[in-house]
């Protein structure tokens, strides 16, 4: 029986630049930054939540050949790598304003929905990130058929 998610990974194109962004701008903490000789094992976590790490990995040999790594980099920069992360916040609009002031590239301003308020941004490489402030449950789900 599985008990929790401890690590999940996304591809980044440069780990130093990834640190600048994920730690310097988003405010995550470095969990592990370790030179394993064959690779740099770099993980971050939300402050106060060290049991859930995000692995920031670069595509390349020997895990994958250079031609494959090139394809992965192209997909990442197209926003199509499939790697993305959703964070929770207590105040979406405030978080948005703070990150905007730091020069974070938003793809969607905060929008209110019945399930909460969310906004979306990209990391420097093209990965999609979303930030959600959940609405109090139970949700008040609208019924569009009654609008017609």
């Amino acid at each position: 029986m599985l008990t929790s998610i401890t690590h999940s990974g996304i591809f980044v194109l440069d780990q130093d630049e990834a640190l600048d962004f994920y730690v310097g701008k988003l405010g995550l903490e470095v969990h592990t930054d370790s030179d394993l000789n064959f690779m740099r094992w770099l993980t971050v976590n939300v402050p106060g939540d060290p049991d859930r790490e995000i692995v920031l990995a670069t595509p390349g040999p020997p895990a994958m050949d250079e031609a494959t790594a090139e394809q992965v980099r192209e997909l990442v920069t197209k926003g199509a790598s499939g790697g993305w992360v959703i964070f929770r916040t207590a105040d979406c609009r405030k978080t948005y304003e703070e990150l905007l002031a730091k020069g974070v590239e938003f793809t969607q301003e905060p929008v209110e929905h019945f399930y909460g308020t969310d906004c979306a941004l990209r990391d420097p490489f093209g990965n999609a990130i979303r930030i959600t402030q959940p609405a109090p449950e139970p949700y008040d789900i609208p019924e569009p058929a009654t609008h017609a």
Partner: protein
């Protein structure tokens, strides 16, 4: 070569994101090409090569997707929604909506279910792919 492709992709993605973000405002190719740091002709060509459709088509689908969202989740009138997503005439909006979705805005509203998914998920996955060309994927 690879780095050049990556940089081009990222700039084009930035322009595409601008369409996703500011679909409610008038947008022209000059503005988007400037975001991508390329000429207008180069922008249209490379955008199509990179994302498989012209910027104009991408934006139309985005506007219709957001209109579908507003029809599902709000009680705003069809005319208001048409203007919300930056169509300037109700006729063009209705015609484009029908061409993409296959039914009128009000018929869509009457039949649609609310989608309990976050906006960026619906924006990514519910942007309608049908525009006639979806049935012939081998077409360039």
């Amino acid at each position: 070569m690879s780095r050049a492709v990556e940089e081009s992709n990222r700039r084009l993605l930035r322009a595409r994101d601008a369409m996703d973000r500011t679909y409610a405002q008038p947008l022209d190719v000059r503005t988007l090409a400037r975001i991508a740091h390329v000429s207008e002709a180069h922008f249209i060509r490379t955008f199509r090569e990179t994302f498989g459709e012209t910027p104009h088509r991408y934006l139309q689908r985005r506007r219709v997707e957001r209109a579908m969202f507003l029809l599902r989740e709000t009680d705003r009138s069809v005319t208001d929604i048409c203007l919300d997503v930056s169509f300037t005439s109700l006729g063009t909006f209705s015609r484009t909506f029908r061409a993409i979705v296959g039914e009128s805005p009000s018929a869509y509203r009457a039949s649609a279910d609310v989608t309990a998914a976050p906006a960026c998920i619906t924006m990514a996955w519910m942007r309608p792919s049908s525009f006639g060309e979806a049935a012939t994927p081998d077409r360039i």
